[in-house]
């Protein structure tokens, strides 16, 4: 153990020296260290891109764009905003779909139903795992865990009709009462 008070005077002297030697530096939280590691090791396929709206010094907030090259959503561009909490990776990143999309697992406000974003998150997972989870939602939309019930029933009952509705939504048209964002670029 330490002797707390024999060292006190020394401590004050050294602190003064340290201030003189360039002052204190800011710290990187353990979450920031980990997200820097995740970002530097991120390998994106050509169907995806990443952007940092606040520049390279803020890695906690970024946008991932997914452009599926197969399946119902082929040709569309879907942006997801990521907000990484300070307790990352103890807590998962917060992810929202920035466009109104007709999808069984994404509601009209952009909430995403992906198990690893909530109940199945583990600290060993990474930004990369989440991104590939998101891309899986477009290659294999899952009607069994609906967040948009109409879209889920549509997909389960009449896949061809669902495909038509997806195209219409992606062109910026109406499905039912809702107008969707055009995402064909």
């Amino acid at each position: 153990m330490i002797k707390l008070f024999s060292v006190k005077a020394k401590q004050e002297k050294e602190a003064a020296e340290r201030e003189a030697n360039g002052g204190t530096t800011s710290r990187q939280s353990s979450g920031e260290v980990r997200v820097a590691k995740d970002i530097s090791e991120l390998a994106l396929p050509r169907t995806m891109s990443i952007a940092f709206p606040n520049g390279k010094d803020d890695l906690l907030n970024f946008v991932i764009a997914i452009k599926p090259d197969e399946g119902y959503y082929r040709g569309g561009t879907f942006e997801f905003s990521f907000a990484v909490p300070t307790m990352y990776p103890h807590e998962p990143p917060k992810v929202r779909c920035e466009r109104k999309v007709y999808h069984p697992n994404i509601d009209l406000d952009g909430n995403v139903c992906l198990n690893i974003l909530r109940e199945d998150w583990k600290p060993v997972l990474s930004i990369s795992s989440v991104i590939f989870g998101l891309s899986l939602l477009f290659s294999e939309p899952n009607p069994d865990d609906p967040l948009n019930k109409e879209a889920a029933e549509d997909l389960a009952r009449t896949p061809q009709n669902f495909a038509m509705n997806v195209r219409r939504a992606m062109q910026g048209g109406y499905v039912g009462q809702h107008r969707f964002s055009s995402c064909l670029r």
Binding site: F5, S26, R27, V33, I39, E41, C113
Partner: protein
């Protein structure tokens, strides 16, 4: 003051007789560096400054215990105000205090009650204080209910550490922490001596992740009241009150969520949505048992006293207490994580004073070929070089001298990441010579 009080207090020696019995003589359980005598008693009463972080259930108990153990200079920091639901266990507060600052009220009550004890209150967030502010205290006692706040204070204190060439911590830079936590009938007390015992981040795995419900369950098949409340807060609030941040301390916000949750529960025929339950779910309130707080805070106070005086060996280093089924307690010696990104010493690495970032990276790859091939580097709060998707943005740093990137400092802790290291980061204590 009644006659009895006067008699009782008039003799300062008599007042601290029980504590002095520990401080003025050696015993078989005293610590190895313990030097009994008046000096240690004077240090305790005149020099030691303890900061109590949090003035809630644990905080009230900590302040009371520290003041009655002979600590005479205490500081307390808390951002909260007193709520009527606190009064059942936060015994320094009265009904007329509702709405007032917890820190200020707790400090005043202890000052009034314990003669000669100075308690300074700081009403505000722990993040608002500069790191250096925390240096003035000798020991920091934590009575918190959140992981974030613990991780924050832990990182501040670990940031003070200096290591020598051999990776041994400079004792003068150690800021010890005593941490308590309770949840119903369970609790823990632990001692963190940064640089010597595991820090909070070394043992983050001890804390289970918060239980969350699948989003689709909340949206489509809610089965209980908590599901309805979560839905109202998580889905309905951002959709219907776009741009407003939900604040659990604003009554109107809480009422709004409660009303929405209640309506949803009625639609699905689910009972049990009440205002109190809504508060519980949205604020993640854990049931607090006053006596659990008392037990845990008592352990923390005793460890603080032992650390300040060395009058007995300190706890090593984590005590768990379980009161759910009988009374069970166990103390475990957790180990440091040698690659902890918050407290590990890092590896000493020297470089000539004019070396550029590019030269620095080449030198560490040469020194650690098994761990590094394409390193990413950060210093302080800033990334200096990141591989991958952002690499081009950092290219301009490659030819800059390290000393410039380190804000003119000749020594510092540099964090290095590399694909070759699967789970860990490497910390280097870089000195430019």
């Amino acid at each position: 003051m009644s006659r009895l009080d006067v008699d009782f207090c008039v003799d300062e020696r008599a007042r601290w007789r029980s504590i002095d019995a520990l401080l003025l003589r050696r015993g078989r359980f005293t610590g190895p560096d313990f030097e009994p005598g008046e000096d240690v008693a004077r240090v305790l009463r005149e020099h030691v400054r303890v900061l109590v972080v949090g003035a809630g259930g644990l905080g009230c108990e900590l302040l009371k215990g520290l003041a009655l153990s002979g600590f005479t200079t205490l500081d307390v920091i808390d951002m909260d105000t007193i709520d009527v639901t606190n009064l059942n266990r936060q015994f320094l507060f009265r009904a007329e205090d509702v709405g007032k600052s917890k820190a200020e009220t707790a400090a005043r009550r202890v000052r009034e009650r314990v003669r000669g004890c100075a308690v300074n209150a700081h009403h505000g967030r722990i993040e608002e204080k500069e790191d250096g502010w925390y240096k003035q205290f000798d020991i920091i006692a934590l009575g918190l209910d959140s992981l974030e706040a613990r991780a924050y204070i832990n990182a501040v204190c670990c940031g003070f550490l200096d290591y020598d060439e051999d990776g041994n911590v400079d004792p003068a830079t150690i800021k010890p922490l005593v941490d308590g936590g309770t949840e119903g009938f369970k609790g823990h007390a632990r001692v963190i001596v940064p640089g010597m015992t595991p820090c909070f981040n070394c043992t983050m795995w001890l804390f289970p992740p918060q239980t969350t419900f699948p989003l689709c369950t909340l949206a489509e098949t809610p089965r209980n009241a908590a599901h309805c409340i979560e839905y109202a807060k998580l889905i309905q609030w951002p959709a219907e009150r776009y741009g407003e941040t939900f604040d659990a301390d604003v009554v109107e916000h809480m009422t709004w969520v409660y009303t929405k949750a209640l309506k949803r529960a009625e639609t699905f025929g689910i009972p049990g949505v009440t205002y109190a339950h809504t508060q519980g779910v949205t604020k993640n309130i854990i049931p607090a048992i006053p006596s659990t707080n008392a037990i845990i805070a008592a352990a923390c106070v005793i460890e603080t006293l032992k650390m300040a005086t060395m009058c007995a060996k300190g706890m090593n280093n984590y005590m768990m207490y379980v009161g759910t089924d009988g009374v069970y307690s166990h103390t475990v010696e957790y180990e440091r994580d040698p690659s902890c990104v918050v407290c590990s010493p890092g590896i000493a690495h020297a470089l000539n004073a004019n070396a550029t970032l590019e030269e620095f990276m080449a030198s560490i790859v040469a020194a650690y070929p098994d761990s590094l091939a394409e390193p990413s580097v950060s210093f302080g709060g800033k990334n200096l070089y990141l591989r991958g998707v952002l690499e081009s943005e950092f290219a301009e740093n490659l030819n800059k001298p390290m000393i410039e990137l380190m804000n003119g400092r000749k020594e510092g802790l540099v964090v290095v990441n590399d694909k070759k290291m699967k789970k860990t980061s490497m910390r280097l204590r870089l000195s430019l010579k």
